[in-house]
Amino acid sequence: MKVIGFVCDWAVSTEALLDAQGRLLAHPSVHVVRIPCSGFMRPDWLEESLRAGADGTFVTGCPYGDCLNREGNYLMRDRVEQLARRLQRRRVDPARVAMFAHGLHDRQAFLEEVGAFLRRLESLPQPAAPAARPAVRAAAPEASE
């Protein structure tokens, strides 16, 4: 299991939650990448993470209504929804992408939601290789262990 989490630098503070490689101590399968704002994420990059071998990926922004940059988290929520439709067309389970919103000190709630996301990923069926040339390659089986 390998998950990449893109966390807004103004949202939940992960300093105390990470090990030296940038993995969450509580959920070592999650790698955290800090970004300037949740709205900075281009949905393509989420898709690219899945294509590169991640089992799931999520974006974390500030609580809705309280984005430091006013609208970044709402915009990202919409983009993740649109990405879900695009992923469906490409036979990728949109449940592998998620959007969270947690404030600077909501570490506990953040970890709980990440844990729930991991459990959701575990319950998903392994992606079947599509017959035709895949638009998005499914995660290689050895990478998913």
């Binding site: 070592p28 704002c37 393509d44 970044g72």
Partner: protein, 392 residues
Amino acid sequence: MYRRALTWLLRQTLKLDVSINRVYPTDWNPLYYTGGLSHFFLFVLVISGILLLFYYVASLDGAYASVRYLTEQVPYGFILRGIHRYAADGFIIAVLLHLFRNWFTDRYLFARDGPWISGMFLLILGGFIGINGYQMVWDQRAQAITEIFVAILQSIPLAGAALVRLFLGSEGISGAMLPRILFLHVGTASFLYMLLWWHYVRIRHPKIWPPATWVLALLGLVILLSALPGTRPTAGAAAQPGVPVTSYPLDVFFLLPFWLVSYLPPIVVGVGLTVLLLLGYVIPYLQREEEPQMGVRHAGIAQVIDGNCTGCELCYYDCPYDAIVMVPSPHPGLTKAAANRKLLAAVMDSRCVECGICIGACPFEALELPKFLEADLTRRIAEAIQAQPATA
């Protein structure tokens, strides 16, 4: 010291948010709408103020009588007066909440100093209008306020006497004063809307109105306060210029400086207030973090990659600060995208807050943050994928 204090305040502010969000859905958190609440109160003030204007007589003899007539003779007149009075308190509370919240949560960085500076002007003029409002009633309190205000003005070296003349219209309190105050009250309030234009000018979709629940609740509260016997506005004793005022009811939201004058000399209060307000203007230029510490928060002003821009306007619609303008595509262009587009996105440096929302909006890879490139992000994704699987 300043930085540590601010960090502590940020922590407390967000803790407060978390506890409020346990009670309300986040969409209703009143602290997310402090600006909208201020605007709502200002709107109530303008409407009730226009109605009050129908009754008000701006003369030394007529002012107090007209207010008294409105309060005691006109049906529900005291409610009208109370709405104006309590909405003014609500306005100042909401404005101060707005100020402190945006200060403690760092919402003044980079290009966001424009709203901060215009906000300071709005705060000062708002307070000034409120004090004028108390003078217009021309009761004992109004007299006391006028005398103290004149004393503060008088204590300014050189310009003091001239300013007092300008404010009162003559050497002492005379019939020329109240028309001036009426103009200062109404004219400055109109000027607030010009400042609000400046306050909103770079903000796309400003939240200028709170959720309906809060509008109704606060309107109800204001009307309740103005109708209840204990809190409804009453006519005090009429002013008698020349006779010293011994005591008057104090409104802590507007008249705090006037209370201080009973303990300190007017020059100290005047200078202290001026210094405090001037410090307010400096706040956006005191950064909490050194440049190197800011990391991805200070990723540089977004840059358009000319060859990739198709002129699709997506970044233009998503930028929350109106920092992107679409200009006519200047030349035929070397790439296919550049040859076929009609418009080209351009970032206005003075408005960009380096958030990168336009980068997320652009499906054509035509925008980059100089210190956090797409290549940096894809490298981090690759590192995360290649990293040794965890022990779990």
